[in-house]
């Protein structure tokens, strides 16, 4: 589904990703862990198409198509979804209008008819239940004045609405209370299927107890320095990252 080869990316001439390789197949969940500043969010942003980053080398194929050539909205149309680490507030754009614009744009990209107002509202009602999102939030402007946890749940609500095939979750667990963590994980697990894949960026092993990954990768200084099964997360929790750095040259 996703194939990243030798990806190099920089911002303002500062290299951040330095030769990253990753292969993901449909049905898989990959976790990415790594120290602060190692490039995890950068990877997510580059994949989503943020123009601030310059890709200097490498390729990214998504369903066999060159993804780096696509505009962010095209990537979304192709089925990519990024749950942001810091979702932005957009004053003046209501959640309803935002969601309708988003869903219908993606449908248009896929040459599907737009949803009628009735169908759309029904879908909103259905999906908001899944993440237990308060009605009042949906009446407000996008993320405006949402608490940290509400913003994260809103991201997962949007995922449920758009039904992407590749989901990048950038620290969706940070800022969630214990109940919300369970709700969000349940929503993800419910949505998981053999046709979609997840790339879960997290600092905490706890999330991975709920959303059990097939692979765990450690990103350090712009490269994946270690990959393993879900046990790797436990080992990291115990030992930290330093032992890996020492091991890089060995």
């Amino acid at each position: 589904m996703l194939s990243i080869k030798n990806l190099h990316a920089s911002i303002d001439d500062k290299a951040i990703l330095k030769g990253l390789n990753l292969e993901m197949k449909a049905g898989e969940v990959h976790a990415i862990m790594g120290p602060n500043g190692s490039g995890k969010s950068t990877l997510a942003s580059v994949l989503a198409g943020k123009e601030d980053y310059e890709v200097t080398e490498g390729e990214v194929l998504y369903h066999g198509k060159d993804m780096l050539d696509m505009a962010p909205e095209e990537r979304a149309g192709e089925g990519l979804f990024l749950a942001f680490q810091y979702p932005v507030e957009i004053p003046g754009v209501s959640m309803v209008n935002f969601m309708r614009a988003s869903l219908n744009s993606i449908r248009e990209y896929r040459k599907q008819e737009p949803l009628s107002a009735g169908q759309f509202l029904k879908l909103m009602r259905e999906k908001k239940e899944i993440v237990n999102l308060d009605d009042k939030l949906l009446k407000r402007a996008v993320n405006e004045g949402f608490s940290g946890g509400e913003k994260k749940r809103n991201e997962i609500f949007q995922m449920a609405m758009l039904e992407p095939s590749l989901v990048l979750m950038d620290e969706t667990d940070s800022g969630l209370d214990i109940d919300a963590l369970r709700i969000v994980s349940d929503a993800v697990n419910q949505f998981r299927s053999k046709d979609n894949a997840f790339l879960v960026i997290t600092h905490y092993q706890r999330l991975l107890e709920y959303i059990v990954p097939d692979f765990v990768h450690v990103l350090s200084e712009g490269k994946i320095v270690r990959s393993g099964g879900k046990e790797l997360a436990l080992e990291l929790e115990e030992k930290g990252y330093d032992w890996l750095k020492e091991g890089v040259g060995a």
Binding site: P87, I90, G92, A101, S102, A141, L162
Partner: protein, 428 residues
């Protein structure tokens, strides 16, 4: 000695006939002022950003009566209002749509003032003077031939729409004059919209004087939607008595060159004033908004929010001054001007100002000029919304805030669409 340039400028506006219904002394004063006043230049502080060159390069003829046959193009869908239509500054009885005029209001053309109404009118006409923009208001007072006297005596339910169309075949000028008198406890809503049927150069010099009495309310929306060669100087003077509420909305969505002077005179205590403005400019458009709020009495509230979105090589200026006089204790006065530049070639010059002579007040002012929020744009695009639509959503979100408080829903709906459509086709 008045310069020849100014003399010639004034001369072109001299009409053939003047209505006998307007008070003569006021006109004569204005005419003698016209013998000495000078045209402002950009060396004058107040006119630094309103270069008159685009106006001076034309020779305008006073406009003549004309008819148009596509009024629907200018009407606001589903807006239930009494509509007075003026084509080239001349009232069109056949186009106007005056259904049921409530007995709480009288609406009289200046050319038809007589009897009791004329007497009330003269008590107020020309009574608010303001040094700024003198030559244009003097010109208007001297030569204006038509306009509307709205006299609200109670609560007026049905809004009044003054609809102006420039329908020119050669460069023409229109001078119009309004007077709104809102009596104690009365309430009225007015939309005044300005359009052109084509891109022939036109110049409009408008003056509106407004008196809002004790505990009365006015909602006044000015929608400037003239064509690519529409030039306009607007002077609006508002006097508020105690406990009155006034909301003005100055929305510049078209036109080539606009100078708006908006002055509030808050004479009684406990007044509320909202001054909102929006300008969405393209190509070589220029809009200069000057506002001045005089707080003369205690316990009053004024809130000013002007927003601009500028594309192309457009230019805008904002000069807002809040003047809190010594007796105006417990004044709450806020002022903000925010701008988004869509191109490197657009520019805005903004200067909010406070002048405070009372010690117990809450005042703030601020100005910002920036770009479309990149983070918000990316968020929308990452959710599949194409670039252009995402920009439109953000532009709308930014601009529509200035419509807050307009209670004429159909008008809000119409302007909402104008805001969204204004920059359709931009992709930076």
């Amino acid at each position: 000695m008045q310069s020849t340039k100014t003399k010639e400028f004034i001369q072109q506006f001299q009409p053939q006939t003047l209505p006998t219904s307007l008070p003569n002394e006021v006109r004569e004063l204005a005419m003698s002022a016209l013998n000495i006043l000078e045209l402002p230049t950009t060396k004058w502080e107040e006119w630094k950003y309103s270069n008159l060159r685009p106006i001076l390069k034309h020779q305008f003829q006073p406009a003549n009566h004309a008819e148009i046959d596509n009024l629907a193009a200018y009407l606001i869908p589903d807006f239930e209002a009494n509509v007075l239509v003026f084509v080239n500054g001349v009232y069109s009885k056949s186009l106007s749509q005056i259904g049921e005029l409530e007995d709480t209001v009288s609406v009289t053309l200046l050319s038809e003032l007589e009897g009791e109404t004329a007497a009330v009118f003269s008590d107020y006409y020309g009574k608010i003077t303001s040094p700024e923009g003198q030559i244009f208001s003097a010109l208007n007072t001297a030569y204006a031939a038509e306009g509307v006297f709205i006299h609200a005596k109670g609560v007026v339910e049905r809004p009044i729409h003054l609809l102006h169309i420039q329908h020119a075949t050669a460069a023409q000028s229109v001078q119009m004059r309004n007077l709104f008198l809102v009596e104690k406890h009365a309430k009225v809503k007015v939309l005044e919209s300005f359009h052109s049927s084509n891109d022939t150069p036109s110049f409009r010099n408008a003056v509106t004087e407004i008196f809002v009495k004790e505990n009365a309310g006015l909602e006044y929306v000015k929608l400037q939607e003239e064509g690519e060669a529409g030039m306009m100087v607007d002077q609006t003077e508002i006097s508020q008595a105690s406990d009155s509420r006034v909301k003005t909305y100055t929305l510049s969505m078209g036109g080539n060159w606009i100078r708006n002077n908006l002055h509030f005179h808050l004479k009684g205590p406990n007044t509320e004033s909202v001054l909102n403005g929006l300008y969405m400019l393209k190509d070589n458009q220029h809009v200069d908004n000057h506002s001045l709020v005089h707080h003369f009495a205690p316990n009053s509230y004024s809130n000013e929010l002007y927003k601009g979105i500028l594309g192309g090589k457009s230019t805008a200026a904002f000069r807002g001054k809040i003047h809190v006089h010594q007796p105006a204790q417990k004044t709450n006065a806020y002022q903000s001007n925010r701008n988004i530049l869509l191109t490197d070639t657009a520019s805005v010059n903004t200067k909010p100002q406070l002048e405070i002579y009372a010690d117990d007040v809450k005042c703030s002012h601020g100005a910002t000029t920036g770009r479309i929020e990149e983070e918000a744009l990316f968020y929308l695009r990452a959710r599949g919304v194409p670039m252009e639509e995402a920009q439109q959503l953000l532009i709308h979100a930014f601009g529509a805030e200035t419509l807050d408080g307009i209670t004429m829903d159909a008008v809000v709906g119409y302007i909402d669409q104008l805001i969204t459509a204004r920059f359709a086709g931009i992709t930076d």
